[in-house]
Symmetry: C3
Subunit: 356 residues, 3 copies
């Protein structure tokens, strides 16, 4: 596939600044691109790399200046990039049909345009919609329902009663609908509370590799339409995540937490159980929301506090050794001795446990 | 299945306060329940939802008042709930036998009442006890031994030499017995130390989805009877976890750590290697035990300190900006300038590394 | 297999201090060893256990004294241990050939000395080198290339276009080459950016169970030769990890971060996207590198700062309650009231969000 820069610009919703007749054969990174390639950058930190690139054309944010270059401008360079990549790398059309080695349960309804891969095990009464693709080794439990255009990569497991909306995509190793973590603990013994609820994943949700979304105790664990979930993410039972949210790698949400729309959990963030994060809340990387947060608030820290508060605390935390010295200086000036200090409360308290 | 409230109460160990003849057809959440349903609540935060519910009967803690309702009281509402759910949702009895597509190794001994699913691969000399269920695609390495009534969900991998006690349950994607992470590093090269030990899982242990419990270098990595492990939990080689412990989602335990009985690791907690947590230690969410902790101590923070100490530290940490201002006020009062401050120790020290 | 202590010493590169004719039948832990076993210890914390052991011979660091014992000394006891374990536990040689149930794509080239297990699904144009072992249920996407002597344990998924160097080893459940987490977000909608790059794993890399290494957007996500990756580790798209690095359990690296050679991420550590960690950087357990770090620097904390700085901050942080009391004492001495305190900045600021 080769496009002129002008054609390409039109197809991806960009404007040309330069030679619209330049022929473009693909998209490459700044380092790998040659004169026949389109490259891109979306952050000013890569401006130097862009200057040094051999790319014939570069897609950038409006207002970028790169003298002597053919440029493509777009309101959202990322979106234009996505479209360019779709153009040069169209998804392969899977062959419809059920592989001879797949095992399909009684009364399952698989659309004739859907594709089911080798060694897949499809339970009873499962429904798989038009053009959906079920990869090799996927296991789908009884009564689960997949909409149209769904993509399930190899080695995904859906327990019974999981619903996936249209165009949802689930990456390898992910487990949807395993039992929630619920026990009745009596005299130190943990009695399993049967987890008989469901998992409901909205349309256009993408879930990365090796994530776990547990079924509800009763009712449903729900992921709203358009939400994107990264790898190794944990979603506990009865959690509700609103539409258009983003859960980054290794984030975790404890049971019965309720997240609004457009919530962002950065990498390794955590959310405690039974709380609410309002629409648009952002939890910073490695932070832990242990209390509810009202809509629109970015939070950080363990426990998480509003970002501005966290920054002010951090500003002082970084200067704690200095603060201590200045306190000592004041005490010296005032002739205050250290003897008043209460040795029992040295703030560590763990010393007695040291064994190493 | 329909029970009168009285029958139900008797079967789940609860007392009726109200109309014992009410007919109950199932258990539902407070929001979903109708007059023919039992619902429940176990925390006062859901009292309003309970009042608003259309549930015909509600299971609650003794002493709860909900005027005009049929109530069930139990010493442990959770345990009564577990029993009610077992009653209305009995586990399906799997058909005994080995699926035609499963591959079974030489000298494996599979009890005739056990069930082995499609595409399972059972190694040599494996033993599977009575009424155990091995799901689709499960791989069981040579010489592994499963007790009676064990449930292995689809896509679990047991390496060679893993032992599972009676009634243990393992959810999809979990890997038991992969090599521990051990290398001899000489001049920057990491030489693998063969991991030739075992994994031993006690009776009544449940392990969630996508958790990893590594085999020991020598000897055994052990999980005590009745311990419950959530999803995406990491247990390093030679770790010992005592009976009745609880490891919540995304918790991690480094090699050779020894946890007592009834230890609780909350979500995303971490435990460093080669240390001991005594019986009943609780590590708070997102905290990291970097030193041994004596029995019965709840700890929090990174590094973890006793919970009371952590709370006192946090109380001041939250007020650090105020503390700083008050320090400055004192310095002003005393006419102490800032010039004495040692600029080389601004507590950040990382500034020279900033590249972005 | 039985060796004299002298033979054993010679084969593992150790020196005998004691009876070289003692017959050794295996390696055991200090607790499990008897007179016919070699045991070992590599940390002084196990000296007492070594004294109490019934082991016939003990491998230890040079200079160790254990009166009345046959000892083996080595410069690196760990390396000598590795060799002893290799001697007593040689890897089973898998039978070459492709299992009858495996499905192999068109134009795949599988070396006749390689072994492919049951239910494996090998894509088109895949190459598998000499003596490589592909376990049961492994899925290898189109065009992936495995070098010689590679070991892929059961239930690993390689998406299309993943390259593994010679002697690489990948444990069960790991997913290599799933799509990177990249979206163009416009007006709250997240549009997928096709991830069309590769994953390249160097020679002698070992990857634990249930880790995820995403394919690049363009170009390659790369893991340098000799690097070791533990379980449940997340590596984002376009990350570059240098040679001989160590990524411990549950560590995570966000997209486009660049790690040098010999970098160590301890357990549950995190690295933010688009930054650089120089050669030999060490990130402490549970810490988060949010900015670039120059070569050779150990860092700790959230956000991570140089280890020495972190220690000084921690020393004060532990004494915050005391610091507060001493501040109050000074204020009392100076007759400074608390009324000057600015109540609006109590450092919590989250109180208004509490909903529970």
């Amino acid at each position: 596939m080769i496009y002129s820069l002008g054609e390409l610009a039109e197809r991806i919703g960009a404007d040309v600044a330069g030679d619209a007749s330049r022929r473009i054969a693909g998209v490459r990174t700044l380092a790998d691109a040659g004169p026949e390639h389109l490259s891109f950058f979306t952050s000013s930190r890569y401006l130097e790399a862009a200057r040094a690139s051999h790319a014939g054309a570069i897609l950038a944010a409006r207002g970028t200046t790169l003298p002597g270059r053919d440029l493509l401008f777009a309101d959202s360079p990322q979106l234009a990039l996505a479209r360019a990549l779709e153009l040069f790398h169209p998804r392969p059309e899977p062959l419809p049909g059920v592989h001879a080695t797949a095992i399909v349960g009684a009364r399952a309804r698989i659309d004739p345009t859907a594709a089911v891969g080798p060694f897949a095990v499809i339970g009873e009464r499962v429904e798989i919609g038009a053009r959906s693709v079920v990869g090799a080794h996927v296991v789908i439990g009884d009564g689960s329902v997949l909409g149209a255009g769904v993509t399930i990569h190899p080695h995904v497991v859906l327990y019974a009663g999981v619903r996936l909306g249209d165009r949802a995509e689930v990456h390898s190793g992910t487990v949807l609908g395993a039992d929630g973590f619920g026990y009745a603990t009596v005299k130190g013994r943990h009695h399993k509370i049967p987890q008989v609820g469901r998992v409901e994943i909205g349309a256009d949700v993408e879930i990365g590799a090796l994530s776990a979304i547990d079924r509800a105790l009763l009712g449903a664990t729900t992921i709203g339409a358009g939400t994107k979930v990264d790898n190794l993410v944990q979603v506990g039972h009865n959690v509700e995540v609103g539409e258009g949210s983003v859960l980054c790698g290794q984030a975790g949400i404890a049971g019965s937490a309720k997240l609004g729309r457009g919530v962002v959990l950065a990498g390794q963030a955590g959310v405690a159980g039974h709380l609410e994060l309002g629409d648009g809340v952002q939890v910073a990387a490695k932070s832990a929301a242990l209390e509810s947060v009202s809509a629109g608030t970015p939070v950080a820290g363990i426990p998480a506090v509003p970002l501005g508060v966290w920054r002010r605390q951090q500003a002082v935390a970084r200067r704690l050794p200095e603060l201590w010295r200045r306190l000592l200086r004041i005490e010296r000036r005032l002739g205050l001795g250290e003897e008043e200090r209460d040795g029992s409360d040295d703030g560590n308290g763990n010393a007695g446990d040291k064994e190493a």
